[in-house]
Symmetry: C2
Amino acid sequence: MSRLRGSVTIDDVARHVGVAKGTVSRVLNNYTDISEGTRKRILKAVHDLGYQPSATARNLKRGRQDTLGIIIPVGHGSGADPFLAEFIDGIARALDELGLDLLVTTAHSRDHVIATLKRLIARRKVDGFIVTRTEVEDPRIAYLLEQNFPFVAHGRTSDPSGYAWFDIDNEETFATGARHLYSLGHERIGFIGGPLELNFARQRLEGYRQGLEALGAAHDAGLETLQPLSEKGGIAGARALLSGEAPPTAILCATDALAIGAVQFCRTLGLKPGADVTVIGYDGLPAGEYVDPPLTTFTQSAQEAGGRVARMLIDVLDGKPPHELQALAKAKLIRRASDGAPTMTSEALAGALRDRLNEQPLSGSKGE
Amino acid sequence: MSRLRGSVTIDDVARHVGVAKGTVSRVLNNYTDISEGTRKRILKAVHDLGYQPSATARNLKRGRQDTLGIIIPVGHGSGADPFLAEFIDGIARALDELGLDLLVTTAHSRDHVIATLKRLIARRKVDGFIVTRTEVEDPRIAYLLEQNFPFVAHGRTSDPSGYAWFDIDNEETFATGARHLYSLGHERIGFIGGPLELNFARQRLEGYRQGLEALGAAHDAGLETLQPLSEKGGIAGARALLSGEAPPTAILCATDALAIGAVQFCRTLGLKPGADVTVIGYDGLPAGEYVDPPLTTFTQSAQEAGGRVARMLIDVLDGKPPHELQALAKAKLIRRASDGAPTMTSEALAGALRDRLNEQPLSGSKGE
DNA sequence: TTGACTTCCGAAACCGGTTTTGGAACACTT
DNA sequence: AAGTGTTCCAAAACCGGTTTCGGAAGTCAA
């Protein structure tokens, strides 16, 4: 059908100048065996005719697409998250400078992700993949490694040795978090984490523990709870920690969603977050700014991460060995208003809570 | 360099079966002049060898890429917005069913957008574009029309006759908004809008006016203000409206960002949003849920819009006439807690405000 | 038996580039 | 003058598909 918009081809240019098309191609690809005169004439014709080579034709011969792929897992109707939007922006900016493009696809189940991966690879639509939200045992990474197809992961798996990745130093960050809380004067510091299948959840718990240990605090299982990574999980987690014998005066949360839930729960108990109880999240969600009080949280520039990962993938495609392409970055603490020095001791808090917890209804707030 | 991962080509299949490659191609493209026996043998071989045709080679001949493009304008560092993330998800889902893919690019200036458009068209990387965030006079749409390149706009321009678009019925929605506020008992209803170069901003203002007019309310310039579409703009807008002689008891805002700012401003004055002053936004931003009180707002499913627009673009590519591809949708009101019946009259409000506005510092809150 | 029509498929052209091959033209020795 | 390099470019092969063209073989009617 529809012939391509009368686009000008390399043959048009060649004919116009009176040379072979191979010669035009050589000029455009900076071969040296072309006389200055011919080169000039050809470049002029290219410019005059507004010629731009067809990516398709070029790719067919070159065996490259100059296109990278990213498959976004979209959960059960849970809206796409803002982190990814910025992440993609970062990737696109980096690629733009190099004349590459980004193919974006979404997938709504584990099987669907693999099927999409398979299709994109088999049909050769992309040169490499960016994998986000890695899991401890990630089927995508397993598949890509097995196929020996180039990719970079944003996040690690249980065995991160054989491929390129970029990740936040979760351990370090959460150890820092514990230290920060301690330096504010908190002595009992709690942690609400996520399911340990998620690699980062595991690492954040680990970092929290290491941080406490380094401060000489004894390990106390009553200060840790794992919950689904949602606001609801945060509510449940805060309830669990605060109803203990010696409740924490500060709570470190693995994600902002958890922290937002925790803050809400505290408020329904009449506790003032940032004073009576300190809560810190992780993610730097915009929503965190609108919580009352605005959430103190750790964050990483998603845009920077995207750019970084894109450049790493290009290095992979250029054949750099994977072990040179593994990097950790630190997250930055944004102090808003949900953290502060404790206003009461754990004992006092426990006392204040005793009665309120009982009269408190089962669910603290609106759903997920 | 790097030969494609030993991928199997149509020649491999042909050789394996002992037929010409053209025959294989015909089988895969459902030509009818193939005997049942040969067809079966070829399909089996295709399956056994795991053959998938190279998109590149196919496109070269077909002159199509089976790829759609979207260029996301990213302002001066202002993070990518969540609407787009869901919008893209919707597009991707629709395309997935048809075996098409989506190329995503960002552009950070007007010139950059056009340059990217030009490059993608000239190099023939995409078959058509989805244009978001249309402006009244949109250079992208002008360019695409001039090039006669297929596209669909999400939103309209000043002259929306000659191309395919999908848009929210902004007039209708804001007229509904005015009606809703009136039915709650509000008599003075204000409006904070955006710059009129943005088409939707113009339409929303228009809808607000029409709504008031239909209710028999006189037009009052003191009830309207235009501001930059940010939280800051909302603060400034609310200040402007509330410091008038006869301040509105309800404020309709063109976007959630404005509404969030307006709510903040009210709270710094000690007014209770949802009671003393009603504020309604538009966008359904997740952040709106965390505002205190949670923001009442109009919304449209971004995912649905994405799917709709994608399917329209495919119709365009199939040659459907543009005037059959123009559609308006209604936004839905999500009632949370920032609206309600007025607790005082405009006069009472004016009185309550008189002193507070004076002692109020110049800026109400943290920056944008 | 022969001519006309189908049915089915091989061969080759084509899409628009890149890369290889090879040779004409010229300069430079010896 | 013949041999040896260079320099520069035309021609052709190639990438992996799709599509056109045409012909062999089989069927059917006259």
